[in-house]
């Protein structure tokens, strides 16, 4: 399909060394009456075609805000992006005009939200909402666009798509609604798909189906997929690499298998230990002590230090940079070696 991209954005191909999408030292603040909320404090990650990046973190870690910054759907104000770049095929999206930006949104970078019931417009039929993509961005007629919508609903495996195309969102089950959301987001074959906690609101069995669907769609189209989640268990099978976020920073970056075997940051380690495991039945579940950081009043030094079992004096005064510990991994911990060793015990 032909892209109607403005000249500032290179079409597919010609990537060179530049990844498909690169977030570079991104900062996002919310200037509120209560003070400045530092939601994202220098996030860096990248994504290549066909690759799945899982962004992991608890609520308030900045993972969703980063995604919304990529999409350009933050409310500005109160949000401000004082520093950083978001390069899509080498072009910094933050420097684009609003017009050029909206050519990227939905067509080349698309997003799936957490709660499909509230994220779909209650007063329009699902067919109308999916086909809107074709009508607005491709100039198709109503009928043709609706046919495409039915095709998409078939593709995300909604049973009896043709009969259900004129139903309203509230007439579908949670899983089906999320499929509709996905159908809408992949309508124009985006190169990057961001899924923000796509399965959190769903039953466990449905969760697996949705994850499978996303993985399958990605294989078919070779798009880059960013999977935002707070649940390590969800991403193990589908992700290629994982970025762990804490307090608006990336604290660990690694291929998925390394991180499960040998976490290099105490926070990641804590997360892994708090997953219930079948082989440890009867043992107490581990929970990370303390509370997530207050974004209005961040701890000095390493944001994780108040909760960290490896804490030394330097952690209180000096924030560790995210630095490489091997060719493919990096960690933002002064004592990553100790953490790595600890897992070998």
């Amino acid at each position: 399909m032909k892209k109607t991209s403005p000249e500032v954005l290179p079409a597919e191909g010609g990537l060179g060394n530049e990844p498909l999408l690169a977030v570079d030292n991104l900062h996002v603040e919310f200037r509120t009456r209560a003070g400045v909320v530092h939601a994202v404090n220098g996030v860096t990650y990248s994504l290549n075609p066909g690759e799945t990046l899982a962004v992991l973190g608890e609520s308030g870690s900045g993972k969703s805000v980063t995604a919304q910054a990529i999409m350009g759907i933050l409310d500005m104000p109160p949000a401000v992006i004082p520093k950083g770049e978001i390069r899509f095929r080498g072009t910094d999206l933050l420097k684009l005009s609003e017009d050029a930006r909206s050519q990227v949104r939905g067509q080349r970078i698309a997003m799936v939200f957490q709660d499909a019931l509230s994220s779909l417009n209650p007063v329009f039929t699902v067919g109308w909402q999916i086909s809107e993509m074709f009508r607005v961005h491709r100039g198709m007629g109503k009928k043709e666009a609706l046919t495409k919508a039915v095709e998409l609903m078939d593709r995300v495996r909604i049973p009896a798509a043709r009969q259900r195309v004129n139903d309203y969102p509230h007439q579908f089950s949670g899983g089906m609604r999320q499929r509709i959301m996905i159908a809408m987001s992949i309508a124009l074959d985006p190169e990057v798909l961001i899924a923000d906690e796509p399965t959190t609101a769903l039953d466990v069995t449905v969760q697996a189906q949705i994850m499978e669907l996303l993985a399958e769609l990605q294989r078919e189209s070779n798009m880059g997929l960013i999977l935002i989640t707070h649940d390590l268990g969800v991403v193990a099978d589908v992700a290629d690499k994982i970025a762990v976020m804490y307090g608006g920073r990336i604290v660990e970056n690694a291929p998925v298998h390394d991180i499960y075997k040998t976490p290099a940051h105490p926070y990641t380690k804590g997360l892994l230990e708090s997953i219930p495991r079948v082989d440890q039945k009867g043992q107490d579940l581990y929970a990370i002590k303390g509370m997530p950081p207050n974004l209005l009043d961040m701890p000095t030094g390493c944001a994780f230090h108040p909760r960290c079992p490896y804490r030394q004096d330097i952690c209180v005064t000096e924030a560790p940079a995210l630095s490489g510990i091997s060719g493919t991994r990096s960690s933002a911990c002064h004592y990553w070696r100790e953490v790595l060793d600890g897992t070998h015990e």
Binding site: I73, S102, Q107, F113, L120, V123, V136, H170
Partner: protein, 314 residues
């Protein structure tokens, strides 16, 4: 949908009966003898009085009289006759036409100005225009119709005519057709305009916070389409229903406006009939107003179902 309407209709019956009975009872207590009033200044033969009292069931207990009346209204559309032997329904028809014209004019003002200002305020939330609009709604709500009526009559009616030499806004009567209703319609709309402005603003602000608005933005739609298509379609639901319900309120509340601008509407008529102790007219007018209120609310419920698919399919 059909069952829903039927259920609402059945629920409306006790309201209609209760409200009319209440009015009937109050009017029953109006001092003075209708037959004596009918006869006017002339002395009346006691036997004729007795016959008349019998014919109009005036000797029966209240509830029985009420039954004769309401069954006549319901089954025959018969509201009784005035002292001058004119059918009340015929008298009311003309008066209701005037008040309906007035209320509809007010409704148009309300819809255009109220929704317009509300949308403007919502889209400029927190800025000067928003603050100004909110402050003026407070002022508009606080100044009674009694005051706006006279002030606008003086300023827009009399002074404009003096300055321009053209009678743009006639200040009394209905002899100028549509133009006669402009000024009183605006006055009657006054407070409602303020409410609708606030309601519109709140509704759109709330809607624009919804997740599906974020989705629409993420779809790459223009801001114009996000607000105009996805936002407005949802934000308009409470507004349309408010407007529907307000038609009844405007008709029932028009008496002050009608008095100030000398419009021969139902408010004026009711007022006069209360003084003349013309009981059938008084009860007739209030009964029709109650009916309008009930029908308007029924229509509003149905509009809600049409506008909001979540209700339609429940």
């Amino acid at each position: 949908m059909g069952r829903y309407i039927i259920r609402r209709l059945i629920q409306a019956i006790p309201v209609l009966l209760g409200a009319t009975l209440l009015i009937f009872a109050i009017v029953f207590a109006l001092p003075g003898d209708p037959v004596a009033a009918l006869a006017g200044e002339k002395r009346t033969d006691p036997t004729i009085v007795a016959i008349l009292r019998e014919r109009y069931h005036l000797n029966d207990p209240l509830l029985l009289q009420y039954w004769y009346y309401i069954s006549g209204v319901i089954f025959r559309g018969d509201f009784g006759v005035t002292f001058a032997d004119v059918p009340v329904s015929q008298l009311m028809a003309g008066k209701f036409q005037v008040t309906l014209n007035l209320a509809l004019t007010a409704l148009v003002f309300e819809a255009i100005i109220g929704v317009g200002l509300g949308l403007w305020a919502a889209l400029r939330r927190g800025r000067a225009a928003d603050t100004m609009i909110l402050a003026s709604t407070l002022l508009l709500i606080s100044v009674p119709t009694l005051v706006t009526g006279f002030v606008l009559q003086l300023v827009l009616g009399v002074k404009v005519k003096q300055w321009t030499g053209v009678d743009i806004f006639p200040i009394a009567g209905i002899s100028n057709g549509f133009r006669s209703y402009l000024l009183p319609g605006f006055v009657l709309a006054g407070i409602s305009i303020a409410y609708l402005t606030r309601l519109t603003r709140t509704s759109l602000v709330e809607t624009l916070r919804a997740d599906y608005i974020r989705t629409a933005t993420a779809k790459g739609l223009s801001r114009r389409r996000v607000i105009g298509r996805h936002g407005l379609r949802n934000a308009l639901i409470p507004l349309v229903t408010y407007l529907g319900a307000d038609l009844g309120n405007l008709m029932g509340g028009a008496v002050i406006t009608e008095t100030i601008f000398n419009l021969p509407g139902i408010g004026n008529q009711l007022f006069q009939s209360v003084y003349l102790r013309e009981q059938p007219v008084v009860v007739g007018i209030v009964t029709v107003l109650v009916l309008i209120y009930i029908v308007a609310n029924l229509v509003v419920d149905m509009m809600y179902a049409v506008l909001d698919p979540r209700i339609r399919y429940e």
